[in-house]
Point group: C2
Chain length 644, copies 2
């Protein structure tokens, strides 16, 4: 049995709960789904009148452990607290509260209730109160069919062709979840249909917190040997869902031995298509959707553990080595054009700025070997611990080479001779967000006038995404105070994003080039500072727009970068151009304070500012869709900033 | 000179600022509007390069007192920080910051800047930072014309007929104000046009925080004697605006002696149409838009001052007296039908529940005198201080009458004989919000089976309103902590609302009747509690919808009540049926946490819940418009409640 798939069995009625549970466990199901109310018990008409005996069975029939781990309790299906009739609303509200408080008493892990329309204001209100008044509220599982056959029938359409019918039930869920403020204790249970919708619609569901899928026995068919099996499309969907941590619930008439269904599901999971051997997959295991605060290597010195992780990247330093190699070749060629042997054989000065524990020094030395160039390598590093490591290597490992270690901040030191090449790796997950522009501009005086900077350009990118999970995690991070919550939604989070859906394509935000050109005055002359260096302006603002492809809810952005090292050598974490196997960066999640409901055809417009003053750098952002707009995020860097 | 109108004079350039100010003050203007930048000073192209001399005049030319009270500083009109060009954006940003920080240094009371489109994201962002980084930021006055002639021209329409052209500039202002989170330090300056729009559009402006109106000299015409005068429509508009605390700025070419304009405005204001002698106007003076927490007379005992105020109402007790009179007449008539002298002449028992210091006892005794009925009046009161006053009056003033004072909570006492009539005045500004239903249902056992309750019915109402001022005041009330802000926007505020605009008509929410009918069981029988009293359910939920008549921003609701005392005798604070001269209640403002932008033709749907448990009563509410929705307000009464 694979430990990676958890299957449950749904019972429509459970006159003998213990017998049902025993049967299901015997057949290797892990849990059962059962109505809260026993069929024999009749509910009194006016609930506030106390009746002897209560409305359902006693909790003595199962062990506490079974109640808290094996039972998903279903709310009575007739309960409709959003009826148009005020009398029905109030009566059903009483019933619902009664069942909820019974579940609270039993401590069941999850309470399942069906959504039937997008009118769930009162239902959501009652559940919100339930959550706020319970110490350990059960999870809420809202079940919806994948398609609304009613809508398809109303439109006289085949189910398969009615986009509205497939959108409809997603709207039910999405509005309900919105009403509960995207609470992470509330998830969706998706009842698979015989027909399946377009890929885009399936992908949207993969961005939702699908806690379980209901697989009706009716969508299985029997194979030649008489065992129940699923179609290829259904198999793929179930596997995708389980990979996104959904459990599987078998439900409906027993057309076959009930044991066969779970056996089939286990086997299908074990035989699922093999994923390519991507180092990222194993490296990121356990970090899925886990939010981290971005590093501030300029303000804080990195620790050994962090260096250890980054130096293990199997791709990044190869790319650097290729880029340095090409740069050395080009420099030699340029010198040869000048046809002067003395110059051709002149020492090439390469400075590694922010050398850390030396990986770029090694790449540089390798490149020198490959191109048979005489190089002088100057390793500049401000972190005293890393300087110790560098100095030890210079003494011991690189003692035959011309390697000098200079402790200090690249923005403040002055060295001679100047460099033919400066090499640095100062990028964050969103490109410039670890202040690479400020560092490299500050070190511009170290480079010869026609010198080469590796990298020579980098770009940040964003895509609008839907992810209730990431948004709720950001909101809840660190603290429960409302003040903190505000801050959390005004900051960038480094995260390996899984449970999310891209609303539109990834687009360019900011670009930085090195060596940077300075600001020009009204006569077109470059303005310089007191050291004679170009006065650069690393403030940026960018307005980016997208057309929405299908109805969705936007919770923020995925943020990425790509970087041109030299010539054609790139590194990228933009999904479409991601450097294969490079593990040094997870993307960033940039939340918005108020998630925005977006509709097909609408235009999302985002404005990002990169703000700079003498002490710090920060981002601000705003998003507008139709009539709705977010507040300005992080005004004056009040919630997040990078210190210079 | 009237102290109620403040006029300023706008100068397009002020080469000699002191001379300009002297001239304006000499002509009886109170302040001048002047550009920040002196025309002689040329701004360096790159602002970060320090230049000797700076970009404008020294601040030594005026006294600090003149700077802080007589000068409205205008930002250079060419500054456009929302240009499409990133280079222009950044350069103009530098200029704007320079001018803002100069204004900050001078301490001018207000900074005026023009809005030219609804694209003001960057402008608003910079001003937000200015506000957050200033200890005493100047007020921001955003100036807009009343009409966008550009839009009218584009549409090939006469300005007067182009609804879009009149809406346009309101949108500029409204989106800008939204971007600044409806900050109360940010107001609008409205430049009057020669043509005027429909009344609805003018009314919408009256709901905005109009700090000043600019009256161009070009819209004055000369009367027979050659003095400048305004048309009747313009006069009315100026008067309305000044009544809403706007100042008046005269601007433009001097077609007449500049002194004549201000003289005309003063005279016009003094001769403005006389308002009917409404006691509310004098009573509410000074309370305009001032938020108060609703009373909780059930949980807290009222103080003498409060009784004093309420007893002075010139209308309310008259209405009660008429209602009691009519009830006594009807009781006698009913008894006469039974044709039994003994019954006809039987004592009529009238209980005043919550008698306070006795105004309803007096009304009852008066009604008895008028109808020549023998009455026994029982005054029930739980507030010990008020009981003292009642007892003293019973001894001294009412010593010849049959008046008994019973100290105690009407919900807990038991009296015999039972009452023919119970009279109470337990209503709050939103009807049931001081728990009248719970009190009267609790006292139901005191009333004869066919007895009369005065009042016998009351209804609460709401209308969606726009009022940035009330919303900002609610948000800021009590505290600056984010937690408190949340609470403040989840509670009802009693307030004499002035600076607001009704988005749609006033509609019914909840109804309560007395004596109340009890809940019925499934056999249709009334359910009773252990005392044999009907078991009532004072929970309510109501869904109310409105169609939006013109583009607007909804900040919350105005809340009102009306009440049927007996027969045709009513009291009401619903604007359309307000009891003339009744001063006992201001309306309530019910805020929403996220103001909603609403467009003509859209439907606003609000759901209100009145929730009850054994200890307390509270309201919850939600509003939906198109795709936008507010969160649920006050779930589980977390922010506001009324204690039982």
């Amino acid at each position: 049995m694979s430990p990676d798939i958890s299957c449950g069995l749904e019972y429509l009625i459970t006159p003998d709960l213990q017998a049902c549970l025993t049967e299901a466990l015997h057949c290797n199901y892990s849990f059962i789904v059962t109505p809260v109310v026993h069929p024999r018990f009749r509910r009194p008409y006016v609930s506030s009148v106390s009746t002897v005996g209560g409305f359902t069975r006693s909790d003595m029939i199962l062990s506490p452990q079974d109640w808290t781990s094996r039972i998903v309790a279903k709310i009575s299906p007739y309960i409709c607290v959003d009826s148009m009739s005020p009398v029905v609303r109030q009566r059903h509200e009483d019933c619902l509260n009664e069942e909820l408080s019974y579940c609270r008493g039993l401590g069941v892990p999850a309470i399942m209730l069906p959504l039937r329309s997008s009118n769930t204001n009162n239902l959501a209100r009652i559940l919100q109160t339930y959550n706020e008044t319970s110490h350990h509220p059960s999870l809420i599982w809202a079940s919806v069919p994948m398609v609304s056959t009613r809508i398809a029938q109303r439109n006289n359409q085949d189910v398969e062709e009615s986009e509205e019918a497939w959108n409809e039930t997603w709207h039910w869920w999405s509005k309900f979840h919105e009403r509960l403020d995207w609470d992470k204790r509330v998830g969706v249970v998706l009842e698979l249909s015989a027909d399946l919708p377009a890929q885009e619609i399936l992908k949207r569901w993969l961005g939702e917190p699908v806690k379980a899928i209901i697989v009706p026995t009716s969508i299985f068919h029997n194979n030649k040997k008489g065992y129940p099996v699923l179609s290829r499309a259904h198999q793929q969907l179930v596997i995708n869902m389980v990979e996104h941590e959904a459990q599987v619930i078998v439900s409906g008439a027993r057309r076959s031995n009930i044991e066969y269904y779970v056996q089939y599901l286990f086997r299908m999971w074990q035989r699922r298509p093999y994923k390519a051997d991507d180092p990222m997959l194993s490296y990121a295991k356990g970090w899925e959707d886990y939010l981290q605060t971005p590093l501030q290597p300029l303000a804080d010195n990195l620790d050994t553990h962090t260096y250890n992780v980054f130096e293990k990247d199997p791709v990044k330093y190869d790319q650097y080595q290729k880029a340095i190699t090409q740069a050395l070749i080009d420099i030699r060629q340029k010198r040869q054009v000048k046809d002067n042997d003395q110059i051709v054989n002149e020492l090439c000065v390469i400075m590694v700025l922010g050398a850390g524990r030396g990986p770029l020094v090694r790449a540089t030395l390798n490149a020198a070997d490959i191109t048979q160039t005489k190089v002088k390598v100057i390793a500049v590093e401000k972190n005293p611990c890393a300087v110790l490591v560098l100095a030890a290597q210079a003494r011991e490992v690189w003692r035959d080479r011309d390697v000098i270690v200079i402790p200090g901040d690249m923005r403040q030191i002055n060295l001679s001779p100047k460099a033919d090449i400066i090499v640095s790796e100062l990028l964050g997950s969103w490109g410039d967000n670890e202040l690479s522009p400020e560092c490299l501009d500050g070190a511009a005086g170290l480079l010869k006038v026609d010198g080469i900077s590796i990298p020579n350009e980098y770009n940040s990118y964003v895509a609008p995404i839907s992810s209730a999970r990431l948004w709720a995690a950001a909101k809840a991070a660190s603290s429960n105070s409302a003040q903190q919550r505000d801050k959390n939604l005004e900051t960038l989070w480094v995260v390996y994003m899984q449970n999310k859906h891209d609303i539109a394509e990834t687009k360019l935000v900011f670009t930085f080039k090195h060596p940077a050109k300075g600001t020009r005055d009204h006569e077109g002359k470059e303005v310089t500072d007191y050291r004679g260096l170009p006065l650069t302006d690393n403030r940026r603002s960018a307005i980016v727009s997208w057309v929405v492809k299908q109805d969705n809810v936007m919770h923020g952005f995925g943020g990425y970068f790509d970087c041109s090292l030299y010539g054609k050598e790139m590194i990228s974490i933009v999904p479409s151009t991601h450097s294969p196997g490079m593990i040094s960066w997870f993307p960033v999640f940039i939340p918005i304070k108020t998630p925005l409901r977006v509709h097909k055809g609408e235009v999302i417009t985002a404005t990002f500012w990169r703000c700079v003053n003498s002490r710090r750098v920060w981002y601000e952002w705003i998003v507008e869709v139709g009539n709705c707009t977010t507040p300005l995020h992080n005004p004056n860097g009040r919630s997040s900033e990078m210190l210079l």
